[in-house]
Subunit: 340 residues, 2 copies
């Protein structure tokens, strides 16, 4: 799944900033790709970038209009169709994170066919994958894993990409969720793949590479989540992870959407090592990322210090304190990591 | 996914008996549902049941014509269309195990619409599932797990159903693969479900039941298979298995389709206990089923005895020696198992 940059960010008339969370994530991580925002009358979200017409976006070189908003029910409102058709007619591809497929609107489908433009629904996989083979491939891979869903796995992988590239290392973020696909311009929404092809899709996503190149693969779910552990295991096997970072949210009491308690960080390290060894016997943890947003600075610092001591792994909150310690460990453990 | 019995078995003009393996499995396990076979000129397969015309099948009460044959490429040959359309016009539903969808042929789709008949492609899931919740539900569940794919998991679950019912126990086979769906008339091809819904689909397949009722759930893949372990883990979590039987093929050296060696039976017991405990802390092994087809009778008996001693679990080859020992253990371990 590929999305051509740069982007015009379409916000429609969503009622609040939260509905534009995906779009905001794209602007945060790829400001250079986000030429401007297109808002309809009544829109209550603002990405803090220039308002822009379709014509102006095209004149500035835009390739794709991104529908990076959440909507009640994930539907595509009828009154957005006209703008989307106009964007297609002006030469833009359309990429959407909604549940509803773009082509479900006949006018949009017809315009795309007539003008030869690409419609991409990042929540729906159209790629045909092979089943995973588990054959060791060259290149280095790091996977972010979690004690739960939504604990910072995407953020941590992106922060590692940024920090590693700043040191001149050859590293690429690999997206496995819709926001990540928009941010990296390619990837696969792994939870939308047919079950037989989970690990195969990850083998496609993070293919053989130069020996010192790092793929930083966005994890999904948790091996301990009763809804999604199958996805997490297929991801781990397909990634053939050399290294993993455990992501955790310390104030959560039950796993997202279910009544199960969170596993401990030690549980996650242990089961990830055990299952990951199937496709990479040398798998090892290289750091812990704790989302301390709900803690005071003192409490956050204390928890991080305590966790680092307990596990002997560099521990941080990537948002508050960066990920330099984890990169230090990574370079020390994998001295053949290459410069770009 | 439901398939209405009884069946007319369509064999087309397949070139050999192996191509009719699925159809043969249905006849073996549900002879009372298979009224007759319909073969085209040149067909080299024979299910050993009466040849029957569509009209005669309808007169005998047939509800569905089953396309239970494998074909080069899984395609639906053009010259089968006419017969399929005739069956629809005569009032039969059609259920197919081919990769190609029945509705991909306009004539078949049109006939089904015109006559209000159901087209079922058991390899493709159309059901919409919820994500798994992991909430403990009443009823007892047994899952067959494996050291690999294709080691007898379906056969073992069906043999257990037969033996348990013969003792008057309240037990139902639950199908997770295409042949199993035809055999039980309902089920879900779990490897065709979107990854996010693996465990949810199994919660649907084996729902809350009477406290002493057994669901005997057909396993898929292996927790140690680098292609399919995600499916196996989601299946285990969704099943909330109280009991499991380990299935094994002792002469295989590498896992099906990949270069990985097989895990040991002890490995499978250990990881199944560990991961299964997430949704059922009381999970336990109750038997081992070894496919000894490639061993001499003496070698088979010796291996079974040795395996039984090593693991302290009733061990058998279900085909050669039945599954009574496993049922004995099941009833002893779960004295509240109910009579039908």
């Amino acid at each position: 799944m590929r999305v051509a940059a740069p982007y015009l960010m379409f916000l429609g008339d969503v009622p609040d900033q939260l509905a534009a969370k995906t779009a905001q994530g794209i602007v945060d991580w790829r400001p250079e790709w986000c030429l401007g925002q297109l808002r309809l009358p009544g829109c209550q979200a603002d990405l803090g970038i220039a308002d822009m017409t379709i014509a102006s976006a095209v004149a500035h070189g835009a390739r794709t209009m991104i529908i990076g908003v959440a909507n009640a029910g994930g539907v595509l409102p009828d009154h957005w169709t006209e703008v989307i058709v106009a964007a297609i007619e002006a030469g833009l591809d359309i990429a959407s994170g909604l549940h509803a497929r773009l082509a479900s609107k006949p006018a949009i489908r017809a315009a795309a066919e007539a003008h030869g433009r690409q419609l991409t629904d990042v929540r729906h996989s159209t790629e045909t994958f092979a089943t995973g083979k588990g054959t060791k491939r060259p290149g280095l891979r790091l996977l972010t894993v979690g004690t739960d869903c939504s604990v910072g796995k995407k953020y941590t992988a992106l922060a590692l990409e940024k920090a590693m590239r700043a040191r001149g290392l050859d590293a690429d973020f690999r997206a496995t969720g819709q926001t990540g696909v928009f941010i990296s311009g390619r990837g696969v929404a792994i939870d939308a793949v047919v079950a037989d092809f989970i690990s195969g899709a990850v083998e496609w996503l993070a293919p053989a590479a130069a020996p010192g190149h790092w793929d930083l693969i966005e994890g999904q779910g948790s091996l301990f989540h009763p809804s999604f552990a199958g996805v997490s295991l297929g991801l781990l096997h397909g990634a053939q992870a050399d290294a993993f970072v455990i992501c955790h949210e310390p104030t959560r009491r039950t796993m997202r959407g279910v009544a199960h308690p969170l596993p401990t960080i030690a549980d996650v390290i242990d089961l990830t090592m055990r299952c990951g060894a199937l496709t990479n016997p040398d798998i090892r943890p290289v750091g812990i990322a704790i989302n301390t947003e709900k803690l005071t600075p003192d409490a956050a610092a204390a928890l991080i210090e305590e966790t680092e001591r307990a596990h002997g792994l560099p521990t941080t909150d990537p948002i508050r304190f960066g990920v330099e310690g984890i990169v230090d460990r990574l370079v020390a453990e994998f001295p053949h990591s290459a410069r770009a």
